[in-house]
Symmetry: C2
Subunit: 189 residues, 2 copies
Amino acid sequence: MPHAEVRLSLPHWVQSFAFAPCYPDAEAQVALAIALAERNLAEGTGGPFGAALFDGAGRLLGVGVNRVLPEHCSAAHAEMMAFMTAQQRLGGCRLNDPATGVTAPVTLATSAQPCCMCYGASFWAGLDRMLIGARAEDVMRLTEFDEGPLPADWVGELERRGIVVRRDLLRERACAVLRRYGEQGGPRY
Amino acid sequence: MPHAEVRLSLPHWVQSFAFAPCYPDAEAQVALAIALAERNLAEGTGGPFGAALFDGAGRLLGVGVNRVLPEHCSAAHAEMMAFMTAQQRLGGCRLNDPATGVTAPVTLATSAQPCCMCYGASFWAGLDRMLIGARAEDVMRLTEFDEGPLPADWVGELERRGIVVRRDLLRERACAVLRRYGEQGGPRY
């Protein structure tokens, strides 16, 4: 008989992380995503990636960090963990659906460009904006993680479906956590 | 404080579904994926999509059906549910990693072409083969579900990374469940 349940959790330190009541601008939102990646690396609780979701007033809707190895789950990337935890908390499968009661627009901030899976998931999660720290080429150069294939005009595909994209936010700080992981020889998967 | 846990489950009927000890060929494997989609629609436990994973001897490694609405989770597509339940059961984040002890090759059979998220997830799940029933254009024509953007040569991208793709398996039967969903006016999301 096949296994019928999935359980995924964020690390224990998330419960005591010093979250602010409000993250007022794009830089503050990406800074949180990078801080989560840094902490995940420092605690040894997963890969060097972090993500956070915000409503239109800058209030936190959810966070995620990479949990692939500890949770035995190739889908447990930072962005996916943020989407899934936030949606289950709000009781809706699209974050920007009026039924969730969330103040628009909904923003995903991620420490590094989403891989091909998280990119695809972004179309269904109910986002209005995507803020990105490091580029895919930074990820591949500094960590040797594979980002996978994307449509040629991947930014345009998001924007044509109503998701505004901003890149290279705090890119140097975002690269620093990737560089540290690469220098430590962390596993690629 | 953000929500720190995700729980996803397959419908109760999966526990009493009449699974065979072995699914010896591609048609039998896709037939199971379609049968799961049909049952999910008949039971009203999610969208009209099913997926199943097999080892090299045709033994079942895991199954999935669409659970987006009941689980409040945009990531709970059939293929993702199959990947996550099978990986957690086997205790490994790549199904075809020798450490899982699974007999190669690992096959995903899916009732319909993976959307852009499940497509991306397929690169990380540890697959060797992908068997597809209905085409993306069938899904969009018969149900109005959006499949999202893919790389222009999406089959070639899989095959260059070692995942052999076969399409149009039992396509008419796969289309029938989509058509039924469309005719019933099931929700699009």
